[in-house]
């Protein structure tokens, strides 16, 4: 199996067997061979190169993957690592002694935040290293979150003050000749890193990702061999990478109980909340522009559920029903407003570009006390509860938490009404 950009020879028999066919732009059963990519490899850290030792390594999940080049990477997590550790040539021993290797579970907490040692060395036959990132994932009230931290990088670049993101390393790739030089980047990167946003009450995982400097993609190499321009449907360069198994953090029962979470559907029912039936749901949302707040992130949304079928009355642009009346029967649309920093996570709001900025609608229906509509391709159902005067909604994929609340319309910038707020028609 080919796993290097230099020796990609196709994977689908006659549909991509020769450089000429691969690069021709011919689509075979919906597949453009230029989009394909050589396979990756899996690495295992083991005491010795024997069957038993490799199998043990896989069982304790001390494994990593690479996109093709032989980058080596290690990740350890613990509570007692110090930055000086890396000066010791035997730091790996300390890594095992005072913590866990990748694939492991962090032991019970002994400090305010866990510390990780991450180390990577380049493939001697490939590009230098650009940076190492640690990707953290966690969940809160049934919603999942992810954040990428740049932890160590080549050269003297400065992380952006506000976002923490390190600017790109640049590129030495000569696209015309499909070559690059290792005049940028590092041979070895290592760092002891402490999670600056650690919350001991929340389940989390951490894994490391190593990026190489940009190198020519196989399409660029084969375009050079064929004497044609590189295709414009794929980028001319790529950044090969390696990524580790995660290290997991699980809070103790006490810590988890202390976590600040939203109410669950069970809590709501105990407080006397009543689920809306189909007729009540229709009366609440259909043909209206409803404002919702995600009570985990604070993000505010405007969700517009179009009226079903004919008979929706024609409304002037000043009326809330103006937008929904243009939808076909049972078409809904989610508009996102006041996006928070996590809005790009598809698990939270679907696809903001498609659903909000491009205004693409998706079908919905109301049945058995649920509003059902797809989000990022998955059917999601929403139940709504009335608690006193409040309407609180729960999504079917958030493990029983009721995270959404209907809020009053949020004032928007209105050039015709500098005082703010939408003026109801006729007033």
């Amino acid at each position: 199996m080919a796993y290097r950009q230099e020796n990609w020879f196709g994977a689908h028999a006659l549909t991509d067997a020769t450089p000429q066919i691969r690069m021709s732009g011919q689509i075979a059963a919906g597949m453009d061979p230029r989009n394909l990519y050589p396979a990756g490899l899996t690495g295992v850290w083991a005491e010795e190169n024997t069957r038993a030792s490799l199998f043990d390594g896989m069982q304790r999940k001390e494994t990593f993957a690479v996109s093709g080049t032989h980058i080596k990477v290690r990740l350890f997590g613990g509570w007692e690592y110090t930055p000086e550790m890396l000066n010791d040539p035997a730091w790996v021993k300390t890594g095992y002694a005072k913590g866990v290797p990748m694939g492991g579970d962090l032991p019970v907490g002994k400090a305010n935040a866990p510390t990780f040692i991450v180390w990577a060395v380049k493939d001697p036959t490939a590009g230098n290293l650009d940076r190492i990132q640690i990707v953290k994932g966690w969940s809160r009230s049934g919603q999942s979150f992810e954040k990428v931290f740049d932890v160590v990088w080549a050269g003297d670049r400065k992380a952006d003050k506000l976002t923490g993101v390190v600017p790109p390393i640049g590129s030495t790739v000569d696209v015309e000749n499909a070559t690059y030089t290792n005049s940028i980047g590092a041979v070895e990167l290592k760092k002891v890193w402490t999670d600056p946003e650690f919350d001991p009450s929340v389940d989390a995982f951490y894994y490391a990702r190593v990026l190489e400097i940009p190198t020519p993609r196989w399409t660029t190499i084969q375009a050079k061999q064929l004497g044609i321009a590189p295709p414009d449907v794929v980028p001319p360069t790529i950044q090969e990478r390696a990524w580790t198994s995660p290290i997991w953090y699980t809070p103790s029962a006490n810590l988890r109980a202390a976590a600040k979470t939203n109410m669950t559907v069970g809590d709501l029912k105990k407080q006397g909340a009543v689920a809306l039936n189909d007729a009540q749901l229709r009366a609440l949302v259909v043909g209206k522009s409803t404002w919702l707040q995600n009570n985990v992130t604070g993000d505010k949304y405007q969700v517009v559920y179009g009226d079903s079928g004919p008979g929706a009355k024609v409304a002037p642009p000043s009326e809330p029903g103006f937008n929904t009346q243009k939808f076909a029967a049972n078409q809904g649309q989610i508009w996102l407003r006041f996006l928070g920093r996590n809005t790009t996570l598809p698990s939270l709001v679907g696809n903001p570009v498609e659903q909000s900025e491009l205004g693409i609608t998706s079908p919905y229906f109301i049945n058995n006390g649920r509003i059902v509509n797809p989000m990022s391709g998955t059917a999601m159902s929403i139940t709504v509860y009335k608690l006193g005067e409040k309407y609180i909604a729960a999504r079917s994929n958030e493990f029983g938490y009721a995270n959404y609340e209907i809020i009053p319309a949020v004032a928007q910038l209105n050039p015709l009404n500098p005082g703010g707020g939408r003026k109801p028609a006729g007033k």
Binding site: V121, K122, T125, V187
Partner: protein, 280 residues
């Protein structure tokens, strides 16, 4: 003698085996169920044993009566669908069925070629003609001092060259204080050049081959930077004697022979066919 030679011809062997199989089949052939009673599925004692065996071969405990019932039902299902498919002619012009049959035919021919054994003289002659196949790569035992471009940038090579002056003539253990910390080992014992090329990059392995053992030398470039190298011992590439690798030679001979037999058999079958192309 001639009879023996004729008998060694793969095509003759093939026909003989075919004839024997055909004869045996005629003797033991059961009443052909699917043809004579298209809606009767007979499962015998042997079939049941076979199913139970296949089940236990997966490392499962012996099947319970209910599991046995399920196995029988699965078998029946397969047989029903198979017969219905045959009745509809689904086996005709099916690329997968054709490919499977063609592969079965290849397996049959492959089994035939296993009947042959090379004589010791034949094997030795073959080894002499294919010596280069068994070459062992050169091996080296060496230590090295690393100069890191991460720390030294454009001066890396010059720093290494300057350090060589300090090292020359000194005992090999003083190297610790010179150069930078290497990520892996500083001493590599008896490594083949393939392994060296994998760990340091092919350029380094080529560079190593040019050095004389017994003195600090370099700088040699690797995929990680520059190195000063002290080669303790170097074993050049060599071809082992026939005696020491006879089993490997035998395996290689069988593999080679099988390939040839397969090609020969195919040629003899192919010769019976006339291919008609448009315009001919």
């Amino acid at each position: 003698m001639i009879v023996a030679r004729i008998l060694r011809e793969p095509l003759v062997q093939f026909l003989l085996v075919g004839l024997a199989l055909f004869g045996a089949w005629q003797l033991v052939k059961p009443v052909h169920a699917a043809r004579d009673a298209p809606y009767r599925i007979v499962i015998g004692e042997d079939d049941l044993k076979q199913m139970a065996l296949a089940w236990m071969a997966k490392g499962l405990p012996p099947p319970t009566p209910q599991q046995m019932q399920e196995l029988v039902e699965a078998k029946v299902r397969e047989e029903v669908l198979y017969r219905e498919a045959l009745a509809l002619g689904l086996d005709k012009d099916d690329v997968i069925v054709r490919r499977q049959l063609a592969r079965k035919m290849e397996f049959v021919t492959e089994d035939l070629s296993k009947l042959d054994e090379p004589s010791p003289a034949e094997l030795r002659a073959w080894y002499e003609n294919h010596r280069e196949r068994f070459a062992l790569p050169a091996r080296a035992t060496f230590r090295h001092v690393y100069f890191s471009p991460d720390r030294r940038g454009a001066n890396t090579r010059a720093d290494a060259a300057a350090a060589l002056e300090q090292l020359s003539g000194k005992p090999i253990d003083v190297s610790v204080a010179i150069g930078d910390r290497f990520m892996f080992q500083s001493y590599y014992g008896d490594r083949s050049m393939e392994v060296v090329a994998k760990e340091f990059g092919p350029k380094f392995a080529r560079g190593l081959a040019d050095l004389k053992p017994g003195a600090w030398a370099g700088p040699v470039e690797s995929g990680y930077g520059w190195h000063l190298v002290f080669i303790d011992a170097m074993t050049p590439q060599r071809i082992p004697d026939f005696e020491s690798i006879e089993p490997e030679v035998r395996n290689a001979w069988i593999e080679d022979h099988r390939e040839k037999t397969r090609a020969k058999l195919y040629e003899s079958m192919r010769a019976r066919y006339e291919v008609v192309l448009p315009g001919s």
